[in-house]
Symmetry: C2
Subunit: 267 residues, 2 copies
């Protein structure tokens, strides 16, 4: 989380570029390349690195392609070519202690990620092996960006929705190493404001701008911290597939710049 | 779920052998084998296949070892050498629609699993891509076996704990294709009985016997269906590492037989 705070300031950006490779959407000239998943993502990374506070590869997109190897090399590339930019492995892991320890090895040792997203449903002991890595970030699902988020997350517990209890547990109990953050979707401005009121300056990973339709001004206004930071605002498809031709990386850069500036106008 | 019901009857067994490879616990003669993860698990599978209703590889244990390839080959081996035995990929996945679709590809197309475990925290639309695969099983976390399970799962919603609402949603709303099951830990006999009362004959995947200490007699008595089935009772470490020598597969077979018979005495 220290690296993230430094990066917010150094890059003057709250933008997180999500790396969700979908080869059917790659530019035609890349599709037949043997290492297309790596080459596509590397081009996006190199074209946007100076504009972002972090990168967020989504592991399902690599697993569906049998591209674990490309994911390992991409994270190594970010660290080598763009030092100081944290990498979040978006994996939403959650399992009991002994298995969680293996997910910790997967995320932090194998892939070398700086932070990982986790699911709180199994309770604190399932997250503890992640929390114990004080040098790494643990980003807990709170109020997710999808339409059905409320099915469980809004169920009323003692008069308040479940996600508020998750927010409170993470901020007051799970964050003893100061390495926690929360996922709160851009699509829920009211909930962003409520969670911000509960957790103080805890960082938020905010998916759901761009393709999912979250409004930037309302979201930043409701979710930022007192110093105008506190957010990793994640956009994937709207940046990755901004251009379809050989200039796709330049188009991704333009989309990132536009999002960064739109956010910065509201801080 | 049909394959599972057939297998309960054909094998006269409710035992699910969990495949959680930990190379440090492998017998010494296997540890230096180049393909040790595959060879160890294959030996366990071949020694226990006639005694089980299903196998359950836990994906974190393979991912931490960069052994995705061994996992693919093991599931293919089960299907080829032991037809009719369902394979559950224990992955506890949960993500929004577009990403969930990639997890569906990972579990069912890449690995060829017959069922997968999923986390309900993100709501129904996050599980829908799994539910839509009517030919595959979707096993939803309800009351997990770990000590901290209650942190969220026991929170009171309208006077009843959250896990009971999950059980009800899955049984009444999510199970329209009849392909759902629930994870309920053997360590919680009272909760097993309560969930059984809510969901009728919905199958349970029951981890937590053996190494985690769940009591077989109490568990089976509280969780079985009217016809003495309804359960996939999962044991991993107590079977896999029952023997430390060259006869480890025979020791695993003896442990599986003993568990199967202990369960069958209570049905």
């Amino acid at each position: 989380m220290d690296a993230l705070r430094k990066r917010w300031s150094a890059a003057n950006s709250l933008v997180c570029v999500g790396l969700d490779p979908e080869p059917a959407k790659f530019p035609a000239h890349l599709r037949s390349t043997p290492d297309a998943v790596f080459e596509f993502n590397r081009a996006i990374i190199d074209a946007t690195a100076d504009l972002v506070c972090c990168f967020k590869p989504q592991i399902a997109h690599f697993a569906a392609l049998r591209a674990e190897d490309a994911l390992e090399r991409l994270i190594a590339h970010i660290h080598a070519a763009h030092p100081g930019i944290p990498v979040i492995l978006d994996a939403k892991r959650g399992d009991i202690g002994s298995t969680a320890a293996n997910y910790v090895i997967e995320a932090f040792d194998r892939y070398g990620a700086d932070a990982v997203t986790v699911n709180p449903y199994l309770g604190r002991d399932s997250v503890q092996p992640f929390l114990d890595r004080a040098d790494k970030g643990v980003i807990v699902l709170c109020r997710t960006s999808n339409p059905g988020a409320g099915d469980l997350q809004d169920l009323p517990v003692d008069g308040r929705p479940l996600y508020q209890h998750v927010a409170e547990k993470v901020a007051r109990e799970w964050n003893s190493h100061g390495n926690c953050a929360l996922v709160v979707g851009a699509t829920w401005p009211t909930q962003l404001r409520e969670v911000r009121g509960i957790v103080g300056a805890l960082p938020f990973l905010v998916p759901g701008v761009g393709a999912q339709g979250g409004d930037v001004e309302q979201m930043v206004g409701h979710a930022k911290t007192g110093d105008g930071t506190g957010l990793m605002i994640s956009s994937s498809r709207a940046i990755l597939y901004a251009g379809q031709g050989e200039d796709f990386a330049a188009a991704a850069r333009a989309a990132t710049l536009s999002l960064r500036d739109a956010i910065n106008r509201c801080r």
